[in-house]
């Protein structure tokens, strides 16, 4: 793509890299972006939002160089529309844990503890990645759980625990780490079969393909992995 005036496209200044990234990556990517700017001298601008909204934006011609999604399904939307440049790579994984109020007052130790009659549990809706993962894990454990709510995303589920509205929620380990003041995370074995992959790709319409590739490399570099690991992600 050789558009003459990148400014007029709304993509911003010439030396600016635009990264569309899932909202759950905000803290990690902001740090990675700072490192990258320092190392490469290229300004990085992030557009954090829900992965699905980002995918829709990209497919409608949004001026983006890199897309980092929170689920392969959202990435597939972009790839299928022919808007990616090359194959996406998985740069991080996230695993489910049981979030309970700090100190675990109900003594939850396993998925089956969530099926007690008076237990209020929040899980994500199946349409969002953490919900799909929870379904998988519950099926694997053979647990028939009736949650009080199917949340729109992990943060919402987690916030229900933080506010004491539910007794437990199935969320990602990264989320529990970020909210360590209020919640404890209980690991459970069935979660290993329900890991969620985060793919990243350079986009076809990228104004700065070289810098974009450099950023993807940076995410997959040791520095990148360290930052992601610190946030609670697993790295491949």
């Amino acid at each position: 793509d050789d558009r003459a005036d990148p400014a007029a496209t709304g993509a911003g200044n010439g030396g600016e890299l635009t990264v569309f990234a899932a909202a759950s990556l905000r803290e990690s990517f902001t740090r990675l972006g700072q490192d990258f700017e320092a190392a490469q001298g290229v300004r990085v601008t992030f557009n954090f939002a829900g992965s699905s909204a980002l995918a829709a934006q990209i497919n409608q011609g949004a001026p983006a160089d890199v897309f980092a999604a929170a689920a392969p399904a959202n990435m597939a939307t972009v790839v299928d529309a022919g808007n990616s440049d090359g194959e996406p790579v998985t740069f991080a994984r996230n695993q489910l844990v049981i979030a309970v109020p700090r100190g675990n007052p109900d003594g939850v130790t396993a998925l089956s503890d969530l099926t007690k009659p008076d237990a209020k549990v929040a899980v994500c809706a199946e349409q969002v990645p953490c919900g799909a993962a929870a379904r998988k894990a519950l099926d694997a454990a053979g647990v028939a759980l009736t949650p009080v709510t199917l949340e729109q995303d992990v943060r919402a589920a987690l916030n229900k625990v933080r506010l004491g509205e539910v007794d437990a929620a199935l969320v990602y380990r990264t989320d529990v780490r970020a909210a360590a003041d209020d919640v404890d995370g209980i690991e459970f074995p069935e979660s290993t079969g329900a890991v969620n992959d985060y793919p990243i790709v350079v986009l076809k319409d990228a104004d700065h393909p070289a810098a974009a590739r450099a950023f993807v490399d940076h995410v997959n570099s040791d520095t990148g992995r360290a930052v992601l690991t610190a946030a609670g992600f697993q790295v491949p």
Partner: protein, 280 residues
């Protein structure tokens, strides 16, 4: 003011319409009006273009869709009633009674308007939630918890919709001629009777406008609902929540659901408005 019988007379000077004053519609008004209409309607066209018409009938018959639709219409209607019940008196208070701090109250009423709905839902949790200011008392006294119930949906919708109703009704009350209320008083009507028998009928168009605003806002409400009431099919999953979740996986599905929601609301509003729009 009555509708009147329009006499069709295709003349350069425009056919007069009933008892209304007539004349050519000025371009300076017509052009922005049409631009405004296009601006509001074009995006709808954008959605229609992307609609997968082939799969539409199948989607419509999916059981979850109808459930969510029914729940949406029911809760929005209940929320509107709640808004009317609490909001009209509050609007009246703001418009007709002078009390210290009235300006502040008036500004506070707009708070739910400005609050991002998700934060509104959060705030409702902080008050009516299991650990909330009022909710913990409700729980310990009556064993009642509000969140994750259909009641919570209604409350969330009412919370975001009420300011619209209040502001619209207060505007109507301020525009109404208070001398009719004076006349009622001299005929022995107290403030309450005057309110019900004179003020309310006089500002009926304003109240109707406010109710329509509130209903539509409640029908489209998503953020506060999902935060305060959660998402459970048949109990708290309204259409906007269903749309949002569909959006996560399937753009077309979300568009179809939105169009269903829109069609129902346009049909209901067009039907209702036929009644009240011709009244005054």
């Amino acid at each position: 003011m009555a509708g009147g019988t329009a006499r069709a007379r295709p003349t350069p000077t425009v056919a007069p319409r009933g008892t209304r004053r007539t004349g050519r519609t000025p371009v300076a008004l017509l052009v922005p009006a049409i631009l405004g209409l296009l601006f509001l309607v074009l995006p709808l066209a954008g959605l229609l273009v992307r609609t997968p018409w082939a799969t539409l009938p199948q989607r419509l018959t999916e059981p979850g869709v109808l459930t969510a639709l029914r729940l949406s219409v029911q809760t929005a209607t209940l929320a509107t009633l709640l808004c009317l019940l609490l909001g009209v008196p509050l609007a009246w208070l703001l418009a007709r009674v002078q009390f210290p701090g009235r300006q502040l109250v008036r500004a506070l009423v707009t708070v739910p308007l400005v609050l991002p709905p998700v934060v509104g839902g959060l705030a409702l949790l902080l008050v009516f939630g299991r650990r909330g200011l009022v909710g913990s008392w409700l729980d310990s006294t009556f064993g009642v918890t509000v969140p994750f119930t259909t009641t919570a949906v209604v409350l969330a919708q009412a919370f975001v919709a009420m300011p619209f109703l209040i502001i619209a009704v207060e505007g109507a009350l301020r525009g109404a001629d208070t001398r009719y209320e004076e006349a009622a008083a001299t005929l022995g009507a107290g403030r309450w009777t005057t309110f019900t028998h004179v003020t309310l009928p006089l500002v009926a168009p304003g109240i109707a406008a406010g109710a329509v605003l509130g209903w539509a806002r409640a029908l489209g409400e998503f953020g506060a609902t999902i935060t305060f009431a959660g998402n459970y099919p048949g109990r708290t999953q309204t259409m906007p929540v269903a749309v949002y979740l569909a959006l996560e996986t399937d753009l077309e599905a979300a568009i179809v659901l939105s169009l269903i929601l829109l069609t129902v609301s346009v049909v209901i509003l067009a039907g209702l408005r036929d009644r009240w729009a011709s009244a005054p």
